[in-house]
């Protein structure tokens, strides 16, 4: 009986350790998603988080060619999409995403990688051109596309 009790308690202790170790691991990985952005409410980006961390530039680098040269705007990878979802607001003013305390800026500062997308691209969602109705329609269509799309980002 004592032996059984002993074994059970050992198993319990080891289980606790395993769980604790996992929590520590999770805490060690820095999180740059800014609270209050739409992205903070989602489980993952258009790809699993790990994949996005390593591959996000690959995704948008290929996407930019298909957009500029082939006019394809309905892909799930899009810099405008990054900005749209990861932007955070202070007093209802969108904060430029390349600023060192914002999503793109903070991680790029940590990794010491130059970020020059926003020399040309808008660092806050800045609609202009299309009217609100059309934008809403496109967004709806874009999300629909994202759900249907089975592409894994390597086929193009």
């Amino acid at each position: 009986m004592a032996k059984v009790l002993m074994r059970a308690s050992l198993v319990a202790v080891s289980l606790v350790w395993v769980l604790a170790a996992q929590t520590v691991l999770a805490a060690e990985v820095k999180r740059y998603v800014v609270e209050g952005s739409r992205a903070a409410e989602l489980d993952s980006c258009v790809e699993p988080t790990e994949r996005m961390r390593r591959m996000h530039f690959e995704f948008i680098k290929h996407q930019r060619i298909s957009t500029v040269h082939e006019g394809i705007r309905g892909t799930k990878y899009s810099l405008a999409g990054c900005v749209e979802c990861h932007i955070s607001y202070e007093e209802q003013q969108p904060q430029p995403i390349d600023r060192p305390d914002q999503f793109c800026g903070a991680c790029h500062a940590y990794a010491a990688v130059d970020l020059n997308c926003f020399d040309c691209h808008a660092s806050v969602p800045n609609g202009g051109g299309l009217d609100a109705e059309a934008q809403a329609a496109h967004r709806a269509a874009g999300v629909e596309k994202l759900v249907q799309s089975g592409r894994n980002g390597e086929g193009h």
């Binding site: 957009t67 040269h69 006019g71 040309c120 969602p125 609609g127 051109g129 496109h138 269509a141 596309k145």
Partner: protein
């Protein structure tokens, strides 16, 4: 007897007719919103552009009013060009010559007759664009649907294309830019020009900012459309009124045509 049968059949027929009428009405009611929704919510393009279409403009200079700059302002607004600010201490004259413009209003006068012609001058979207010929990096390119544009990811800012263009259509961005529009990324060190509102093309919209503005002013001097579609508004107009290409001696086969010059 026969009369009776006929009447009976007629009754059946009218009943059937009513039913078909109702059914058609119901179908229309169910389908119509879908059709409308489809036309309004044109989805962003998901297939590569093809050479089945060639976008172009037709400018009727007889309708282009002196002193009106609605198209220029609409273009500036659409593409965020009105967000440019002059560098500190730059004299107005120099700034006017240096700032990026995609459309210029040009006034021509025939000195012998005194006849004055106004026209908007922008990238002519040549079939054989000299700017593409001279570009050392492939940044200046012609899209399959005939739009001549700059891939700013590849542009090194050498400005050969500006030299090569017979229409003075291209501009260079000399300074850091801020507050760009999401649909029109633009930044220091790149050349740019009219791209026939390419973002509108990719979202399936019907016309360009300049065409809309000209129509809103009541001039209707610019027509936008597909040069390859024989039924398009632009082709109907081209068939109807005399038009020409500017510097047609260069044989560039421009996509922007003018009438009355």
């Amino acid at each position: 007897m026969t009369d009776k049968t006929d009447r009976a059949e007629n009754e059946i027929d009218s009943g059937r007719r009513d039913f078909i009428g109702v059914a058609a009405g119901m179908t229309a009611a169910v389908v119509a919103p879908g059709v409308l929704l489809h036309t309004v919510a044109a989805a962003p393009r998901s297939e590569p552009v093809t050479s089945d279409v060639r976008w172009g403009l037709l400018v009727d200079t007889a309708k282009c009013a002196d002193g009106c700059s609605a198209c220029v302002e609409a273009c500036n607004d659409e593409n965020g060009l009105n967000l440019q600010t002059p560098p500190e201490g730059e004299p107005d004259r120099k700034w006017d010559a240096q700032k990026a413009v995609w459309i210029r209003k040009v006034k021509l006068q025939d000195n012998q007759t005194g006849r004055v012609t106004n026209l908007p001058m922008m990238c002519q979207h040549c079939e054989h664009p000299p700017c593409v010929d001279v570009c050392p990096t492939g940044a200046s390119f012609k899209r399959a649907d005939g739009i001549v544009m700059v891939d700013r990811h590849l542009c090194i800012g050498c400005r050969y294309c500006m030299m090569a263009c017979p229409y003075k259509a291209r501009s260079f961005i000399h300074q850091d830019t801020t507050d760009q529009l999401t649909s029109v990324p633009r930044g220091k060190g790149c050349v740019e020009s009219c791209n026939l509102c390419v973002h509108r093309r990719d979202y399936g919209e019907a016309s360009t900012a300049c065409v809309d503005a000209c129509a809103a002013e009541g001039h209707h001097a610019i027509v936008f459309g597909d040069l390859k579609d024989p039924n398009s508004a632009i082709n109907q107009k081209l068939k109807e009124i005399p038009s020409r290409q500017i510097r047609e001696d260069l044989q560039l086969n421009t996509g922007v045509r003018y009438s009355g010059v």
